[in-house]
């Protein structure tokens, strides 16, 4: 009776203790595609999923290497992903089969053994061989072409070179050029619908048609241009307000000062003597204002 009790106690302890030592590989799965209907040159994708403890590491040398597995099987791609937190390892293998069967044939992707290192010890997990059937493409009978040679598929001709990128680039560049040119045309006052951008353009045109002797007329042209830009008549004592409203014309402040002084002398003080220098200065002021109007300055 005592001996039976001792045996029972031993068994119970053994079973109980076994629960405290977890299996090193908690999950192993070989995910495979359909095992039939393959042809020469087809790719076969396998995925190996292994769940281990985080203290285990995969021995990379135990994973099949990319390249020729045997005479008719190539391993084209190997991708290993290991999750350091969970210890999961996923291995993707892409095989390619180069076998020319005369009839439907059963073949097998060879198995291999994965090795994991755990505290100096090696734990192995076998990946089983995987069988599949391969079919021929070509008929067995000899088929000849017009030249008397065995029939073969003709050369692959290149596709016509695509022009989408060039067309897209052309449309994009033309659109950009069009918008930029339009904006420049706006700045240069080529659009009659924006008369404010054409004030000094028109003034320069009128000045060019006048002679030096028509200086008074020239002064009136510039006054008219400045008044139009200002929205109301512009006088010398209102220049600071004008510069506040149109700060870009501050660059022409010196010439404007001269213009208003000169204009006062001619139009109100009765100055009669002017020379070519004054006419040039007037034209220079118009050009300067035109440059500012266009945004060149």
């Amino acid at each position: 009776m005592k001996s039976r009790l001792a045996i029972l106690l031993f068994c119970a302890l053994s079973i109980g203790c076994s629960g405290f030592s977890p299996r090193p590989i908690s999950r192993f799965e070989l995910q495979t595609p359909r095992p039939f209907g393959y042809l020469i040159g087809d790719e076969i994708r396998h995925r190996v999923v292994v769940e281990t403890g985080t203290d285990m590491s995969l021995n990379l040398n135990s994973v099949p290497k990319q390249g020729e597995v045997n005479r008719w099987l190539n391993l084209n791609r190997v991708k290993i992903e290991t999750d350091a937190e969970t210890g999961d390892t996923v291995i993707d293998l892409v095989y390619q089969v180069f076998y020319a069967p005369n009839e439907v044939k059963m073949l097998s992707v060879p198995g291999f053994s994965l090795q994991f290192n755990q505290a100096g010890k090696t734990v192995e997990q076998a990946v089983p061989a995987w069988s599949f059937s391969l079919s021929p493409i070509k008929e067995l009978a000899v088929r000849k072409d017009e030249g008397g040679l065995n029939y073969m598929r003709p050369d692959a001709l290149p596709m016509a070179l695509p022009t989408q990128n060039q067309r897209l680039g052309l449309y994009a560049s033309l659109t950009l050029a069009l918008f930029t040119a339009g904006y420049l045309a706006y700045l240069y006052g080529y659009f009659p619908v924006w008369p404010k951008r054409r004030i000094f353009k028109r003034a320069a045109g009128e000045l060019s048609r006048l002679s030096e002797r028509e200086l008074e007329r020239g002064l009136a042209v510039i006054h008219h241009a400045l008044n139009t830009l200002n929205g109301r008549p512009l006088f010398k004592h209102k220049l600071s307000d004008f510069y506040q409203a149109h700060p870009e014309y501050q660059r022409a402040a010196e010439s404007m000062e001269w213009f208003f002084n000169f204009s006062n002398q001619v139009l109100f003080a009765g100055r009669q003597s002017f020379d070519g220098q004054d006419w040039r200065k007037l034209n220079d002021l118009c050009r300067l204002c035109r440059d500012i109007e266009c945004g060149r300055l």
């Binding site: 020469i40 040159g41 045997n70 097998s108 050369d155 016509a160 070179l161 067309r167 930029t180 420049l184």
Partner: protein, 186 residues
């Protein structure tokens, strides 16, 4: 600042116009190359100097033309230049055409009874088809012609799920097979 902005607008205009001119030129060049390929496909040769700056596709088309005209050496030279050029699809095609070139020559040799000359050509053809299929596993013509080449130069196998066989061994460098189709099949 306004002056800088103004210059930048001009620069943008010039750049976009230059790009437009360049794209026009590229478009013209592509159209011209497509025209050359169309001529080659219709069986008309083009001047060799056109190939020098042409896309690899033009050379591929010319190699196909040369093989059609049985100018095998010139076709081989042309394909050798482009075999590593272009994207995977083009490389796959050039390798396939290379395989076709070797296979055609091998079949001519087999028909003439020159087996020793045919064997290395068939091996080269199979290698080229394998490379084409490695780049594009859905290349049906390459599959068909590889199977044809493998029937011409069979690699004897004793594959069986039950018995470990020589198929697991790497291919031997020795000529152990005789190329040609078995006659008298149904």
């Amino acid at each position: 600042m306004r002056a800088l902005k103004h210059r930048l607008i001009w620069a943008l205009l010039l750049a976009s116009m230059s790009l437009g001119v360049f794209q026009c030129w590229s478009l013209y060049r592509v159209h011209r190359e497509n025209q050359w390929m169309a001529e080659l496909n219709e069986g008309h040769d083009i001047a060799v100097d056109k190939l020098v700056k042409g896309a690899p596709e033009v050379r591929l088309a010319r190699a196909a033309y040369l093989r059609q005209k049985q100018r095998y050496d010139e076709a081989l030279d042309t394909l050798s230049v482009i075999v590593g050029l272009g994207d995977a699809r083009l490389q796959s095609k050039s390798r396939y055409n290379l395989g076709n070139l070797y296979l055609t020559q091998a079949m001519v040799e087999v028909e003439a009874g020159r087996i020793n000359q045919a064997m290395p050509l068939l091996t080269l053809a199979k290698q080229a088809y394998r490379q084409a299929l490695a780049l594009d596993s859905g290349f049906w013509d390459a599959k068909y012609n590889l199977e044809l080449a493998m029937r011409l130069l069979p690699e004897f196998d004793r594959v069986s799920p039950t018995e470990p066989d020589d198929d697991a061994a790497k291919p031997s460098q020795l000529w152990t097979t005789v190329p040609g189709f078995p006659r008298g099949l149904p």
